[in-house]
């Protein structure tokens, strides 16, 4: 797979064995790979914080930038992940959307709850949608790419195992809710990070591609610190760059309630660089 930069491979290889300590001796099943991949991509540690720089580049090369802080908190039952998560996305830039907050209560088995707080209108509104494949704040990323698509929503088959990757082909169980016919992910064998995901239409056209550009091991967790989503048909792409990544910061669930939409938890937000 040439699309994955060498540097990234090196980073993945350097990832501590601990991240993959559960590596089974037998070859894992496709479903197992998908689930572990989901875990590696969205459930590292119990909570996390990062400053995220979003760059949206359209087909003409025009660029828009957004800067936000993303806070994440996983709902635990004892030491066990329940799969329920909360996200708090605070917008720093551009200035006319400063203080805007996007909040998510993610439910693995049901539709997520999403809220948007618009300070200029002093409004909190839930965003409802039948599917989760609408744009995430105007970027090429879908909402679901940011919050995570459950491994249970698709049927996975192991297409290929290379020296470095498991190559999974995934088909939706409910095709009516998604725009793709299937997608193919290249999942790193040690870290289970999906480093490239390609989305296909029924006629075999690849129209969308997610690529991890950079992985760093932060506090023992292999972490994607830069990724790109390309719209292969329209010609645009969006890049997410993560800085000030911190795990186990001790976020409490009350941060993720409506009360904090109007009054952001300033102490928990990242600082301008």
């Amino acid at each position: 797979m040439r699309a994955v930069p060498k540097l990234l491979l090196a980073a993945l290889l350097l990832a501590p064995a601990g991240a993959a300590n559960a590596q089974p001796s037998a070859a894992p099943s496709a479903q197992e790979i998908a689930e572990r991949s989901e875990q590696a991509a969205y459930y590292q540690a119990q909570d996390g914080r990062a400053r995220v720089q979003m760059e949206i580049v359209d087909s003409q090369g025009r660029t828009r930038e957004r800067t936000m802080t993303i806070l994440r908190h996983d709902m635990m039952a004892g030491d066990e992940q329940t799969g329920h998560q909360r996200f708090y996305v605070y917008f720093h830039e551009p200035s006319d959307i400063r203080d805007t907050v996007f909040m998510v209560h993610k439910h693995p088995q049901a539709n997520d709850d999403r809220w948007l707080y618009l300070p200029a209108l002093d409004l909190v509104r839930r965003i409802a949608a039948e599917d989760e494949r609408s744009s995430f704040v105007g970027s090429d990323y879908f909402y679901e790419d940011v919050s995570g698509r459950s491994a249970k929503e698709d049927t996975h088959t192991l297409k290929e195992t290379t020296d470095t990757y498991y190559v999974l082909r995934s088909e939706p169980k409910q095709p009516g809710l998604v725009e793709f016919d299937h997608y193919v992910s290249y999942i790193h064998k040690q870290t289970f990070i999906p480093v490239q995901v390609e989305y296909y239409k029924a006629d075999g056209t690849k129209y969308r591609q997610y690529t991890v550009n950079k992985v760093e091991t932060i506090e023992g967790h292999p972490t994607v610190v830069k990724s790109t989503m390309k719209d292969l048909q329209g010609g645009g792409h969006s890049t997410l760059t993560y800085t000030q990544v911190d795990y186990d910061v001790g976020l409490t669930p009350d941060v993720f309630t409506e009360r904090y939409l109007r009054n952001p938890p300033r102490g928990q937000l990242t600082q301008a660089e």
Partner: protein, 826 residues
């Protein structure tokens, strides 16, 4: 120079081989270039049906159009209107919605390989920008304090109630009102954007195939849009060329046969015209020009002109031929008489068409240049090969021809036939009642000038199809039910140096001004079915955010605007915003759907916007740029009308100079201009009176009128002078002109006038127009020549025939125009 004909008559083999070798050679080159594209130095036959190319590629309006389409991410649309009159809820029933869904899915995957500028390229339906119920977002308040971005029709409804819901949702979004769902809420329109308009006909065909598989629900699917019409026209044009031109040829052939009753001699006329056509068209291809709507008509223009020349020779030969005289002598006589008028008529016709090169429209320039070349080619073939052929044709073939048959007196145009009689009567009338004829002409002219003032300059590519054509039907149905299928766009940006804030189109007062302009256009300008712009998205989202109908407005601060837009950016189509503004909000775009593609309607919309902007100045000084195919059509037409007027004046001047030189007399020169002036003025007077729009074919025909009308006049006047020089009396000259010369002219009129009537059978209106007008021009030019010229000459014979008059002081006939006929006089 008349020696050329004699030379050809004596060295037949050389001329035949030469002409055929050159023509075939060119044809082979053109064919080789087409069959082996990319071969060095060869050019393939390239067909160009794009009216945009009426303007050169670097024309500012085209540059703007391409640039702004890119800036705002816009594509041309194939529009499909679905109407079901047999169901009480129209198409809002489960079965039709299922079909519409299936059609949309089928359209999504359409892609084709096309060749643009010699390069193969993929073009496709822009599936992500399709406007259809399953593809666009419904924006609504759902439950308490929630905004819902779900597809308008996430899945095909299974019940009638579900279908009604789809309608209700669509109707609640102002952006889709009239665009997606019809005003009466019973019909749906689907908009399929395409990356290149060259695939519109292919997309249309694929959609029709899909539609053909649907079970009949009573629904009608109508497909239109300017790109579809334009592309479709191109496809049909070549079919028409393949049918109309040969049919016209056949018709001309049959008429010639009637007049001359000699298959072999007449086949040669057709062959000569064909040689001229093949030569010209091959040359066009070989020199790398595209075959455009205009240039496809070149054969139709060359054929009459080529045959016209040939009929003069044939007619003259026909009237002189007897087997007992040496043929070369007859030919010498014929060519002696005709050489000069034929050369000059060819030159004037050439000048008429060459003047089209003065227009700013490249296809018109190419058309003019190549018809001019074709006319010269036709002239050469006629004056060389025709005499050569007459030399070799067998005695038997000629036995039943010409003077040999005169004694029998059968046939309407024989000297004793009805035509001949009629013409004599006409000559007598024109001669005796000159003043009456002139007065009548003056009245006609005055009425025509009045008519010209009524001419409406207008064109619309959709109207190039007959009223019953499916494209026209689709156009009517869609524009009746929906906002409009003709797209025009208006780009706005602060004037350079204007005191504009950062991101001007996020400012509430600016957005409100745009909303005001939209409202004004939709309410007060009947041609605008819908004006969509950024305020629509903002107002709709704001309404749903606040959950009340009165929140359908622009919020009060730029921040609130930004956050409203951010909310919308969480939908499935966030990029819709960038169809209406740029990412830094320094330009805005209004999308106007017009219900008519008439250029005059586009023009009135432009004027309405200007007036509105003058009366309601925007918050900051704005500059605007129009674009869109509908607007481009308006611009090329404006350029063409002005260009045509210039070209007409230019060729008028050139022709005047030419005829003055020909007759070596300004008086005769002016006289020769009379019939063409009367013809052109009358033709356009009639166009004005009957209310026919002055469109592309109508404009181009002015040069043909000029070429044909002056042709008759030159023949008539030159022959008059020759006859006068012999008879020395106008009274004796007049009846003689109404013999062979008048008959030649009349045969011409009938052969060509009737010969072009098959064009009326064409399903494409420009061909019908050309057919009708060519016939009308011929008849008018003939009448003007045969009636007005003798009437005018009769007023001042002494002045006009000074040079031909023999008297003591001028025993030698001067080398005037009539000197050409000297050979006959001796």
């Amino acid at each position: 120079m008349r020696k050329l004909s004699e030379h050809a008559a004596q060295h037949r083999r050389g001329y035949f081989t030469g002409v055929i070798a050159v023509t075939l050679g060119l044809m082979l080159l053109a064919a080789a270039g087409t069959i082996f594209p990319g071969a060095p130095l060869l050019q393939p036959l390239t067909i160009d049906t794009d009216p945009e190319n009426m303007l050169s590629e670097d024309a500012p309006v085209r540059v703007d159009h391409d640039r702004l389409k890119k800036v705002f991410g816009l594509d041309e649309y194939v529009v499909v209107g679905v109407v079901n009159d047999s169901h009480e809820e129209g198409v809002f029933n489960p079965q039709d919605l299922a079909n519409i869904h299936q059609l949309t899915e089928a359209a999504k995957g359409l892609k084709f390989t096309i060749t643009v500028d010699g390069e193969k390229r993929q073009a496709r339906v822009v599936s992500e920008d399709i406007i259809a119920p399953g593809e666009v977002d419904n924006i609504e308040t759902s439950g308490v304090g929630a905004v819902d971005f779900s597809y308008l029709m996430p899945s095909v409804p299974e019940t009638q109630d579900g279908a009604i819901q789809v309608r209700e949702r669509a109707q609640s979004i102002p952006m889709y009102q009239g665009t997606l769902v019809s005003g009466d809420g019973k019909a749906l329109a689907l908009y399929f954007p395409i990356t290149h308009k060259k695939i519109s006909h292919a997309v249309e065909q694929e959609l029709r195939q899909e539609i053909a598989q649907f079970e009949d629900t009573g629904a009608d699917y109508h497909i239109t849009g300017l790109p579809v019409a334009e592309d479709r026209f191109g496809a049909e044009m070549f079919f028409q060329m393949g049918v109309s031109a040969p049919l016209a040829m056949l018709c001309v052939f049959l008429l010639l046969l009637y007049f001359f009753r000699n298959v072999k001699l007449i086949l040669f006329s057709i062959a000569a015209a064909m040689i001229a056509v093949v030569f010209t068209m091959s040359l066009l291809v070989v020199s790398g020009f595209t075959v455009h709507i205009m240039s496809s008509m070149i054969p139709i223009f060359i054929i009459p002109i080529a045959i016209l020349d040939d009929i003069h020779i044939l007619s003259d030969f026909h009237d002189r031929y007897t087997p007992d005289r040496p043929r070369l002598e007859i030919i010498r006589e014929v060519m002696g008489e005709l050489w000069r008028p034929m050369l000059f008529t060819s030159l004037t016709t050439t000048a008429g068409f060459a003047s089209l090169m003065l227009t700013p429209n490249p296809p018109v320039q190419v058309f003019g240049a190549f018809v001019a070349i074709g006319v010269l080619a036709a002239w050469f073939v006629t004056v060389t090969l025709r005499p050569a052929y007459l030399m070799i044709v067998s005695e038997e073939t000629l036995a039943k021809f010409g003077a040999a048959r005169k004694s029998k007196g059968d046939g309407a145009d024989r000297p004793h036939g009805a035509l001949a009689g009629g013409l004599r009567a006409m000559g007598g009338f024109a001669g005796q009642h000159g003043k009456l004829v002139l007065a009548g002409s003056a009245v006609v002219l005055a009425l025509s000038v009045w008519g010209i003032t009524k001419i409406e300059v207008n064109d619309n590519p959709i109207r190039w199809f007959e009223s019953s054509h499916e494209i026209r039907v689709a156009d009517r149905v869609i524009n009746d039910h929906f906002a409009g299928s003709y797209m025009a766009y208006l780009q706005l940006q602060p004037k350079d140096g204007a005191d504009a804030p950062d991101q001007p189109f996020k400012q509430p007062e600016m957005l409100r001004w745009i909303a005001g302009l939209q409202r004004h256009l939709e309410q007060n300008v009947p041609q605008v079915g819908k004006a969509s712009a950024l305020p629509d998205i903002i107002k709709t989202v704001h309404r749903e955010l606040l959950g009340s109908a009165d929140a359908f407005r622009i919020p009060d601060s730029p921040q609130a605007v930004a956050q409203t837009i951010l909310t919308y950016e969480n939908s499935h189509d966030p990029d819709n915003v960038w169809n209406f503004t740029t990412t830094d909000y320094d330009q805005a775009n209004l999308w106007l759907q017009l219900n008519s593609g008439d250029n005059k309607d586009m023009e009135s919309v432009v004027q309405a916007v200007d007036a509105y902007m003058a009366d309601n100045p925007p918050p900051m000084a704005m500059q605007k740029t129009w674009f869109g195919l509908t607007y481009i059509n308006l611009i090329w037409q404006e350029k063409m009308v002005n260009g045509m007027a210039q070209a007409l004046l230019g060729s008028f001047a050139v022709v005047l100079v030419l005829v003055t030189v020909l007759f070596r007399s300004p008086s005769w020169g002016l006289l020769a201009m009379v019939p063409l002036t009367v013809t052109v003025v009358t033709i356009y007077g009639i166009v004005g009176w009957v209310g026919k729009d002055y469109d592309m074919p109508t404009a181009v025909l002015s040069s043909l009128s000029l070429g044909l009308a002056v042709d008759y006049a030159i023949h008539f006047l030159a022959r008059s002078r020759q006859i006068f020089a012999r008879t020395q009396s106008w009274a004796k000259t007049l009846p003689e002109i109404y013999e062979e010369p008048a008959r030649a002219i009349t045969r011409n009129i009938i052969v060509l006038g009737v010969g072009f009537l098959p064009l009326l059978a064409s399903s494409l209106v420009p061909y019908q127009t050309v057919g009708t007008l060519i016939s009308a021009i011929l008849v008018l030019a003939g009448l003007a020549t045969l009636l007005i010229l003798p009437a005018l000459v009769g007023q001042f014979p002494n002045h006009l025939f000074k040079k031909e008059t023999l008297n003591e002081s001028r025993t030698q006939a001067p080398a005037g125009g009539a000197a050409a006929g000297a050979g006959r006089r001796r």
